[in-house]
Symmetry: C2
Subunit: 340 residues, 2 copies
Amino acid sequence: MRRKVTLKQIAKELDVSISTVSKSLRDSPEISEDTRLKVQAFAKLYNYKPNNIALSLKNKKTKTIGIIIPEIVHHFFATVISGIEQVANECGYNVIVCLSDESFDKEVINMEMLANGSTDGFIMSLSKETQQKKDFHHLQEVINQGMPVVLFDRISNDILCDKVIIDDQLAAYEATNFLISKGLKKIALLTTVDYVSVGKLRTDGYLNVLHDHGIEVDESLIIRIEDTEHCDEKINELLENQSIDAILAVNELFAVTAIKLAMSKGIKIPEDLSVVAFTDGIISKYSTPTITTISQNGIKMGRKAAEMLIKRLELEDEEDEHYKTEIIETNLIIRESTKS
Amino acid sequence: MRRKVTLKQIAKELDVSISTVSKSLRDSPEISEDTRLKVQAFAKLYNYKPNNIALSLKNKKTKTIGIIIPEIVHHFFATVISGIEQVANECGYNVIVCLSDESFDKEVINMEMLANGSTDGFIMSLSKETQQKKDFHHLQEVINQGMPVVLFDRISNDILCDKVIIDDQLAAYEATNFLISKGLKKIALLTTVDYVSVGKLRTDGYLNVLHDHGIEVDESLIIRIEDTEHCDEKINELLENQSIDAILAVNELFAVTAIKLAMSKGIKIPEDLSVVAFTDGIISKYSTPTITTISQNGIKMGRKAAEMLIKRLELEDEEDEHYKTEIIETNLIIRESTKS
DNA sequence: CTGAAAGCGCTTACAG
DNA sequence: CTGAAAGCGCTTACAG
């Protein structure tokens, strides 16, 4: 076992001072070529690499980004991490990931943990519980300390910081409009409870488009699902009690569940029922029939979030309070679950 | 903006020494109750939290685990991270994630980066390219420096360290055996190229069971796919040229692709063709028909890997060279793609 | 051109 | 009971 070598050891071996070694390795012009080369050769031989922790302490920056998301076993979030990681890598940053598991307490604990010097800033998406409680003191605290935060997807207007989102309302509007343009009338909505910010916005988009077309809203067609695990029952109920033409689902899971239930009842898709879902993930692509979706481009969201964060980190300036909200464009990917 | 407070500042405010503050906050019996309480109250008021970086430098341990995986946009790997994160969290560790993107170079760079003090140890799964090159110097280097490494899923016998895997060969054996027991004769195998360790092992299991049943191996039924993105062609070819009874696929993607192609040709599943796949992911659960799979329990793998790593980290002992390989049990989850 | 000193934020053995 | 000193591994302004 050969432990990592330090400046001190090199200095001792070469019988020079630590300062001289440090300067030599950083190609300081202060040092004579002679000793510089000697030190460099020795360092190379022993595979010297500066200790990141020591550098972090000295420089007061860690070159790492903290990511806090509700869960990772969820294609969209995995996609966003992937995007963040890409630009982090390009810019020499590392990425440290914590999961809130949709729990407010875990979110707070993780955030405080990372805020104590482990990261330079945060990229995060709020847990359901946090959105429900509307308690953002942990974010506020971190922001007050001067650490930049970028929120994505599940955000809150109560927090002043950079954000990256899609236009959920517009996307829902357009998707529903697409269904209406196909001559479909009775369009059901499978959404989340209202405290989930994106669910609420998508619901609003749906309502707006109906309104703009003079279609009366039928509340019995709007299914607000709290518990994703047991969405079957409520969806089944909808399909039993209503004869509908189309469904807009705020996520893939609701969509695929609806499709499977419908098919089991002999309802043909897309002939009898058209389905459009948010989030272009793995399910939509491989379900049968494949599902028409609103792509959410997680990679792009992640890249943009990372760019915004790093930009702010490297802006040596004191804070410029000019927070931006970037909108990532979505597009409708038309597949088999809607008529052509 | 209120920057984080340090011991130094508290000491100054309270007009005591830094040592006294430090000891007070750590409840040292050396300090009088009087000053201890005074310091603690003040610290609480200013929400003092020790700086992780300084602690890391002092203690020479970072309490963070480095994870290096080929990609995160892959349900299985996301699942493993989730498992790692669970036990890391329980034990007060953080998790820093790097993606190799299946590239040897990225794997090396990330590993070297993290090895310079950022993490106490590694949990990783090898990139395809690394497995192909069989160049493990980066792992060897890190191990030589005394940092523990736990390898999972895509491992190599050339590296001496703890490992956690499933018994790929046995699982393939049993899955194929299950198909044979249903009276199915012509069983095709959709696998990866041989340098992918798990692909190779699964292929071996398939070959062994045929051998044990005295079934002659038909090489034209073994499809070794290099490029996952374009697996369609090769699978299509198989279905065109052969009339087969069943398919064992080494991943979900091959399976669902085969199912979709087969159905488009009017082949009924499971009546005409049974399909079993490795990796119980999201696709198998939501495809139509749902797919019978060999569950790979990523959460459990992740948890086990983290337990092994942390155990070694906290084993103050010098290294005990007793490396273990844990086998996570798999089980067959029977769904619609195989006859009951 | 080289090196001692101070400092990043902390802990702890040792004096007093 | 309190505090000065040394040290983790590094950098850099400042002397010499």
